[in-house]
Symmetry: C2
Subunit: 230 residues, 2 copies
DNA sequence: GTCTATATGTTGATAGAC
DNA sequence: GTCTATCAACATATAGAC
């Protein structure tokens, strides 16, 4: 086989991969309905029919894109969380350490030069705020990990009210999601003082911001912290 | 004119309004590309051609929907902010009062029975995290108001770093946006302990959470690390 | 203002040659 | 695995009768 200059490694998967990469970026930027298979194929520089050949349908392609990096991302975050818990053992980890273990891997990705991963985070942000896909995909792929994280939060905030804990997670998830989406609106709003592209500064502020929020509503003194008349 | 049982009030605008209402809900739920004019017309119980007659194009309809409530919403929030500033004068308002002035009107809308307004907030959430519409529409309609709010924040946090202030606003905006989106994911995640439909509890937690976050990264003691009871 | 009819293009998907 | 050719369905938008 080798003789006539033919590849000995099969190039199988090269086009399939290019489709995934192109779809990843386009879905992240425009959402599911804002993208056509033709545009994906054009950006991937392959024939339109290949998208259906490899993934069956547009729906199948979208799921394949989402699934591709979900497992490895969860594992990385799980490792960070475990390291944090082990470092603190036999005591409970501090709140800020738990938050940091949750956010740091994402911050590292976002400030990295890896376009694929950055686009993926953007896609996750879109899915997370989508009523159609969010419930199914986020629940299926990320809930088990999120549960572990909330457990860690609970151990760092032993007197936390269960409701407050989940609302706090919701706020953190929202702050994170908008940061991923990277709409560049902050740049104009702040007249250049702050840039949404500056992920390093973003996460440096986000970790203490979120930690303080949790402390306030879930802290040991959360009992008398009923700000509202209800 | 009255004689033959004809309406003396022109029914002009009834169908136009129904189109706006139907479009508002559908755009909020599925985004711009996830909705067809046919579906909007069907839900509004009018002919498809009417959508183009009244609004020129799908783009025009979308803008009309967004614009309809933007002005009145901004005015309501401006009033709340002014009331907060006046109540504190001649001193600077407290941080929590400013945050409350910003969030309270939204919380009131979301926990109200007014479907139209609730759908509108959902639409704003979608626009806010959209790369295609967010920059243009949010900037045009909401930036002037947001600037005023950030000014008020600045007066409550006199030593705030400008960058931190804007990042804090970004986190607040994200938390707010995801709460508007109301994907119901929290319900399952918390196994029923917390419900995203419970806006009253949500905002009751959100106000202190966000205030604590701002204090931590923008507070007078932001250099050090004063977690609680400061 | 409202409807019928239609123009004109695009969509996701497939069948079949290579 | 990849491409050509093609389908039926559906999209937005408009022209013209009422």
């Amino acid at each position: 086989m080798g003789i006539k200059g033919m590849r000995t490694v099969p190039e199988t998967g090269i086009r399939k991969r290019r489709i995934l990469d192109a779809a990843e970026l386009l879905f992240a930027e425009h959402g599911y309905d804002g993208v056509t298979l033709r545009k994906i194929a054009a950006d991937a520089d392959v024939d339109v029919a290949l998208t259906n050949y490899h993934f069956g349908s547009k729906d199948g392609l979208f799921r394949a894109v989402f699934e591709r990096r979900a497992v490895v991302l969860n594992q990385a975050r799980l490792d960070a969380l475990d390291a944090c818990l082990k470092a603190a053992a036999p005591y409970a980890p501090t709140l800020e350490d738990v938050i940091e273990a949750y956010l740091r891997p994402l911050g590292d990705i976002q400030s990295s030069a890896d376009d694929g991963w950055r686009h993926y985070l953007s896609l996750v942000a879109w899915v997370n705020s989508s009523t159609e896909w969010g419930n199914e995909l986020m629940t299926a792929y990320f809930n088990p990990y999120v549960q572990r994280f909330i457990e860690a939060l609970r151990s760092a905030l032993p007197e936390a009210d269960e409701k407050a804990l989940h609302w706090g997670y919701q706020f953190m998830s929202g702050a994170l999601t908008l940061t991923f989406a990277d709409t560049r609106r902050m740049d104009r709003l702040s007249d250049g003082a702050a840039s949404s592209g500056d992920a390093v500064t973003g996460y440096a502020h986000m970790i203490p911001f979120i930690a303080a929020g949790f402390e306030r509503i879930c802290g040991p003194k959360s009992g008398e912290d009923k700000p509202l008349d209800q």
